[in-house]
Amino acid sequence: MSLASTASLKDQPSMLARLFARQELALLACLILVLAFFSVTVENFLSVRNLTNVLGQASLPLIAGIGCAIVFISGEVDISIGSLLATIALPLIIIMNDTNSLLVGVSGALLFGLIVGVVNGYLTAYAGINSLIVTLGTMFIMRGGVYLYTGQRAIPDDASLDSFIALSDGRLFNVIPYSAVIAIVLLAAFAYMMQHRPFGRQIYAVGGNQEVARLAGYDVRRVKFICFIISALLATVAGIILAARVGSAQHTAGLNFEFQVVAATVLGGVSLAGGIGSLSGMALGVLILQFLSNGLRGLGLPTEWQLVITGMIIIAAVAFDEAKRRRANGG
């Protein structure tokens, strides 16, 4: 009897698969809706120049968002990325001013990012402290550190290396900003890892059910530890690009950046509870918010209103998601 009933279940997965595909499809539809609306209401919104500009602006939250989403999927959070963005400019600029070498500067910055990732990851995964608290702490420490070190004055990039400046205004084929190219390459690479490498699946498993992952022989702590390192390194990459744009190390760089990224990630369907979501969803979330903000600015709406609208959209999106999930689980 039960064997016969299993046959009727056969169409269930495809239905569910469609439901989950729809998550990204719905986001895509949302994005198209935003684009369509502003293409009518805002002049030159759909111009190549404006589109590629937005893509360039989106590259920072896209790059940092990869790390944010991965940490979320592992079942933790990392809100130290905004402060890291500002902090990372210090070793970068100071070393470049000293050595006149982009390579050495970037290496120094990455090493610094690695250390931050190790600290966040160790305190969370091995010392067992709640990741919200840990990264809140490192967020304050780094921000305070930058204030103290700079004395609230910008430290200019005196080396002015061509290769470094190209990071801010260079464009591939004179069209796509390099920063967007970097974001797309990283996104593709990490999306592949999350879906097709055993480690990526381990992250999903750990976030989905930690105890099950442990019973399956996974080193849960190591997986989480590495996720924090990935997140810090990606935020470092974003920080390097930001420093190139600003041309200096500044104490206010990346203020509230972490919340911008968290908002886009959550809008993209990545669950704070872990185990659910995808990098493509996160990317769509980032693009929706970026184009929305760009379009609203085009309409002449003040930034304050953008904040209000962004906030409402995020709550609506997550509420919608939650309702859908509840229905799917028959609750």
Binding site: M1, S2, L3, T6, A7, L9, K10, Q12, P13, S14, L16, A17, F20, Y192, H196, R197, P198, R201, Y204, A205, G208, N209, E211, V212, A213, R214, L215, A216, G217, Y218, D219, G275, I276, N329
Partner: protein
């Protein structure tokens, strides 16, 4: 030497002279409890070995030690004669020990196929996952087992019984030398059970040592070659199944004689019905349960793991929704899913899970005790602290709750005293019926007697006590009547004089 269910021809012949797995002198202690005491357990390749015992006998602990979930305090583990050190599930899996736990251990967001290969993804060139192979191999595996489910289905969307089968299939996808199944049939349909038995026999034929944990006697007689019985953390017997009858197995499981450990002080129960439950059913577990509990009576419910005691407890106090039936407390109807009315009518639950459902550990004793009756101490909407403290102090004295002061955080009290605080909470509210679920779980032996005395006294003061328990001595020592449950149904109600351990266990096995 290992065997892979998918590629059965590829393993070398299994050497049956050396035990596949040998545990010697295993000790395991938890705070206040000796879970395993010098236990030996030997598994032969190609044999099906049943592990039996009452709740708390140590079966789960022994399995968890094999699975690497718990470390052992003493003893040795040998795989085919070679001593091994199992410190984590990873080590255990590496040795080819596959444990199928009773609780579903699958990632519900993953597809069935991915869950099958969770512990080791097959990878192609460059170390990327070979999804094609995963789908093909899981389909082939299901085919071999005769298990009909779509490998591409999202695991969480399957009914529990199919998830259980997926878990069993997973144990077979990788090389295994020992497969342990903990109550594998608890949520399977009869068809699936016979499917499972075919699979188990095939595993054994391939030379895998199978451990089958169950309390269902008929299953054990059908499938097992050998039976080991544990009781109170000790090894009692290991015999070929042919040497056992129902009676000898039950005898081994019970063993002890129960003397009247708990001096009974209360008189005979009254005749007034305090709680009446008729034809109660719930969506998940309970099936047409009817009974009455009288004022001054202790009605004990016994059942093995999964019998539905906790579910019954939660339903009759109005905590869980029910699908049909009526609950009447002291003459008034209690609608389901309404604890507020439940408390007003005078029925309260002493939960089995004190930490998460009962106490607020950080708060002081007095606040924990007065929680349900703050209204009674209120004056113009403010709690009169002095009255509140006096009332709590009164209970602390009467129940002899050992606490340095009313202001001590309740988490710092012993288990027995915490339980007394919870009882005080309900009595302060003025109850007519108290439902106690596993009242002595996690409480050491000395304090148990005090809790028993307290329950005896509550009944003596005219309360109806409905006690859910999995412990025979508790049941026979305290209850005026014994009700037995099996798989959500009430299988027997007997008076204290009629009740024997054999009768009770027989009714519990169903």
């Amino acid at each position: 030497m290992s065997v892979d269910f998918l590629h059965p021809g590829e393993g070398t012949a299994i050497d049956t002279d050396v035990p596949a797995l040998e545990l010697r002198g295993i000790d395991k202690r938890f705070p206040g409890v000796v879970a395993l005491d010098n236990v030996d357990f030997t598994l032969e390749a190609g044999k099906i070995h049943a592990l039996m015992g009452e709740n708390g006998a140590g079966k789960s602990t022994l399995i968890k030690i094999m699975a690497g979930v718990y470390g052992k305090d003493a003893g040795t583990i040998r795989m085919r004669g070679r001593e091994v050190d199992i410190k984590s599930p990873r080590d255990s899996l590496k040795e080819g020990i596959k444990v199928v736990f009773q609780e579903i251990a699958l990632i519900s967001e993953f597809t069935v196929a991915e869950n099958i290969f969770l512990e080791g993804y097959p990878t192609g060139k460059g170390g990327s996952i070979d999804w094609k192979k995963i789908r093909a191999d899981s389909a082939a595996l299901f085919n071999r087992i005769g298990f009909n489910v779509d490998p591409a289905a999202r695991t969480g969307s399957l009914p529990v019984s199919q998830q259980q089968m997926v878990e069993i299939a997973r144990a077979l996808a990788h090389e295994a030398r020992v497969v342990v199944m903990d109550e594998p049939t608890s949520s399977l349909t009869p068809n699936e059970v016979s499917l499972l038995f075919t699979v188990i026999r095939r595993l054994a034929a391939l030379g895998i040592a199978v451990v089958y944990v169950s309390h269902k006697l008929d299953e054990v007689f059908e499938i097992a070659d050998t039976v080991t019985v544990l009781r109170d953390g000790r090894h009692i017997s290991t015999r070929p199944i042919g040497e056992h009858s129902n009676d000898t197995l039950i005898q081994d499981m019970i063993g002890r004689r129960i003397d009247n450990l708990f001096p009974r002080k209360r008189g005979a129960p009254g005749s007034k019905v305090a709680l009446s439950v008729e034809n109660l059913s719930t969506a998940k577990k309970l099936n047409d349960v009817s009974f009455e509990a009288r004022a001054g009576e202790v009605l004990g419910f016994f059942g093995l793991m999964g019998a539905g005691r906790t579910e019954l407890a939660k339903a009759i106090v109005g905590y869980d929704p029910i699908t049909s039936g009526t609950i009447t407390v002291d003459g008034s109807r209690l609608l389901p899913h309404d604890t507020r009315t439940g408390v007003r009518l005078g029925i309260g639950l002493l939960t089995e899970d004190r930490k998460s459902e009962g106490l607020m550990g950080e708060l002081p004793v007095y606040q924990n005790a007065s929680l349900a009756s703050l209204g009674a101490f209120a004056r113009l909407g403010f709690v009169d602290k002095a009255r509140e403290h006096r009332a709590v102090q009164d209970y602390v004295d009467r129940f002899r709750i050992k606490t340095p002061s009313l202001f001590q955080q309740v988490k710092n009290l012993s288990g027995g005293n915490q339980q007394k605080v919870l009882i005080a909470r309900w009595l302060m509210r003025g109850l007519k019926v108290i439902v106690v679920d596993e009242p002595t779980r996690g409480i050491d032996v000395g304090a148990k007697t005090e809790i028993f005395a307290l329950i005896d006294r509550l009944a003596g003061e005219g309360l109806a006590v409905v006690m859910m328990t999995s412990e025979m001595p508790e049941l026979l020592g305290l209850a005026d009547r014994v009700a037995v449950m099996c798989e959500g149904r009430l299988t027997a109600i007997m008076s204290r004089d009629e009740a024997t351990q054999e009768k009770i266990l027989n009714a519990a096995i169903g």
